[in-house]
């Protein structure tokens, strides 16, 4: 099979109220990524995305940017658990020769349009497993995360201050990122003084919802050599779907899908946490970053607060976690902005927030029972 590489990245501004269609934003990000790759729309014959009935389809995007025909198109249905899987799917399609060059994207009006934090249309008449949750007033991701965080606090002695350390560092990182929505420094006093959302989670434990789009271009490694940027390879990928994707019917909610993904990702690549320069950990909430870091083995269970407080999650420490500010502070583009950042860092084009000599980046996707992870390396690494 042919090897694949990521050769282009593009994005729109992240905003709180775009005033634009999702399709228009997807087209802007895709055009930017294709131009960044030194290619034209006519070179693109594949598309891959994921959505939760809140976005546009791959062939709609293709048409919007003047691509007559796609040879390969996959629109996956789901949440941030798929943010790594779409990149791997496109790489596999390129490797298998199903297409030559694919655009991988996520586009949404996640703040001004469909919001995940509230009950909307489909939960008003609650079907499936939601019929047991929604009538109880239990409908939204921050409620599920708070439920797991409370259990974690009881079992491992983690604290709200530990969660606050995560929020503080990710917000500090965002200050150096002109794309970030939240760029003001956050103190522990301000973190603790912010209003409760669902105890034990407060305002700054929650992702900064955003409108916008991000796109990557994937093509063959052979073709990548003639393109303008340092190609980035996928060193490994793993994913896990457990317990029917249920938010509460899994035995131990103090771990996540990453408890299964991480050992497979490390074993299949021969890499370990010590090899990671940049870790874009899925921080839709501080709590998912906490457990992600534990599951991947960056630190012991219950020790994440200290890990952050001692400077081990930032520049000069063990690994730089979410140098762009993550979903907490750059913005919540359902985890796909993590991939843009990882590629940018490995190209060493991240400017003021560049992680020195970045060679290997981990990007995790999803929280709870379903998700995945991907390891990117520079081709010359």
């Amino acid at each position: 099979m042919r090897e694949a590489a990521i050769v282009g990245i593009g994005r729109t501004a992240l905003t709180r109220s775009s005033g634009r269609s999702v399709l228009a934003q997807a087209a802007e990000a895709a055009r930017a990524a294709i131009a960044d790759a030194g290619l034209g729309a006519a070179d693109v014959d594949g598309m891959c995305s994921f959505q939760a009935s809140d976005s546009i389809l791959g062939y709609e995007l293709a048409d919007a940017i003047g691509i007559d025909e796609l040879r390969w198109n996959r629109d996956l249905f789901g949440g941030g658990n798929l943010a790594a899987s779409i990149v791997m799917s496109a790489a596999l399609a390129v490797s298998a020769g199903l297409c030559e060059t694919a655009v991988v994207f996520r586009a949404m009006n996640g703040r001004s349009g469909f919001r995940f934090g509230t009950a909307q249309g489909r939960t008003i008449l609650a079907r499936g497993e939601m019929q047991f949750q929604a009538p109880q007033g239990y409908v939204a991701p921050p409620q599920w995360m708070a439920m797991w965080a409370r259990r974690h606090q009881a079992v491992y002695g983690s604290t709200c201050e530990d969660l606050g350390q995560i929020a503080i560092v990710h917000n500090r990182h965002a200050a150096a990122n002109p794309h970030a929505l939240a760029r003001k420094p956050l103190t522990m006093d301000a973190y603790l003084a912010a209003r409760w959302i669902h105890e034990p989670l407060r305002l700054y434990d929650c992702a900064f919802e955003a409108d916008g789009a991000v796109a990557l271009v994937v093509t063959t490694a052979e073709r990548a050599r003639d393109l303008p940027h340092q190609p980035v390879r996928i060193r490994g990928h793993a994913e896990s779907s457990r317990k029917g994707g249920s938010w509460d019917q899994w035995p131990d909610t103090t771990e996540m899908c990453s408890a299964s993904v991480a050992p497979r990702l490390w074993a299949s690549t021969g890499l370990a946490p010590k090899d990671i320069d940049v870790a874009c950990i899925y921080d839709c909430f501080t709590y998912s970053a906490m457990v992600g870091l534990e599951d991947y083995g960056f630190c012991e269970r219950g020790a994440v607060g200290r890990f952050y407080a001692e400077g081990r999650a930032t520049y000069g420490g063990d690994v730089v976690v979410n140098p762009h500010g993550g979903l907490l502070a750059e913005g919540y583009l359902h985890g796909f902005n993590h991939h843009y950042e990882a590629i940018l860092q490995l190209r060493r084009d991240a400017g003021a927030r560049q992680v020195e000599d970045a060679r290997v980046a981990l990007v995790t996707a999803g929280a709870g029972p379903v998700g995945g992870g991907i390891l990117y390396t520079r081709e010359d690494a």
Partner: protein, 145 residues
């Protein structure tokens, strides 16, 4: 559609697998799905057992359990509960089987007094906005009630 447009809570949409659950709560009972062959309890309910593929039916449960975890919901995010904050939602592990778990609101509790491991007992409650009744729970004072 703003949340305010909905004054009543989300209503369950019973399906072929779950109608026995809602029929029981309508009669004031908590009954869960159980395999007639291997006797495993299943939540959510299913036509066939996920372990042995045996036929299932609904059987009454004690309604007693312990609090696996809980939250105090303070941000209005759900129709019908917009003026009800703060309210407490817990995951209740029922005593019939390890990990047999229901999400449920806790009634008549002081949020600060709730603890993981507290024992709770079901209280079937009317759900505003329709004819459904739902399983909510109350904390029981004595540890072995």
């Amino acid at each position: 559609m703003s949340l305010e447009a909905f004054e009543t809570p989300p209503q369950p949409a019973p399906d072929f697998d779950s109608e026995g659950f809602w029929r029981a709560t309508a009669e004031g009972r908590l009954a869960l799905c159980r395999c007639r062959e291997c006797r495993t309890w299943l939540q959510p309910p299913l036509e066939r057992c996920k372990r042995c593929a045996g036929p299932t039916g609904f059987e009454p449960v004690s309604g007693r359990g312990t609090i696996y975890s809980f939250i105090v919901s303070r941000h209005p995010c759900c129709p019908g509960y917009l003026d009800a904050t703060p309210y407490v939602v817990a995951l209740i592990d029922l005593e019939e089987q390890e990990g047999l778990r229901l999400p449920a609101r806790l009634l008549d509790v002081e949020p600060a007094a709730v603890r993981i491991g507290d024992r709770a007992i079901v209280a079937i409650t009317d759900l505003p906005g329709g004819d459904f009744r739902i399983p909510t729970f109350r904390i029981v004072a004595a540890p072995d009630v």
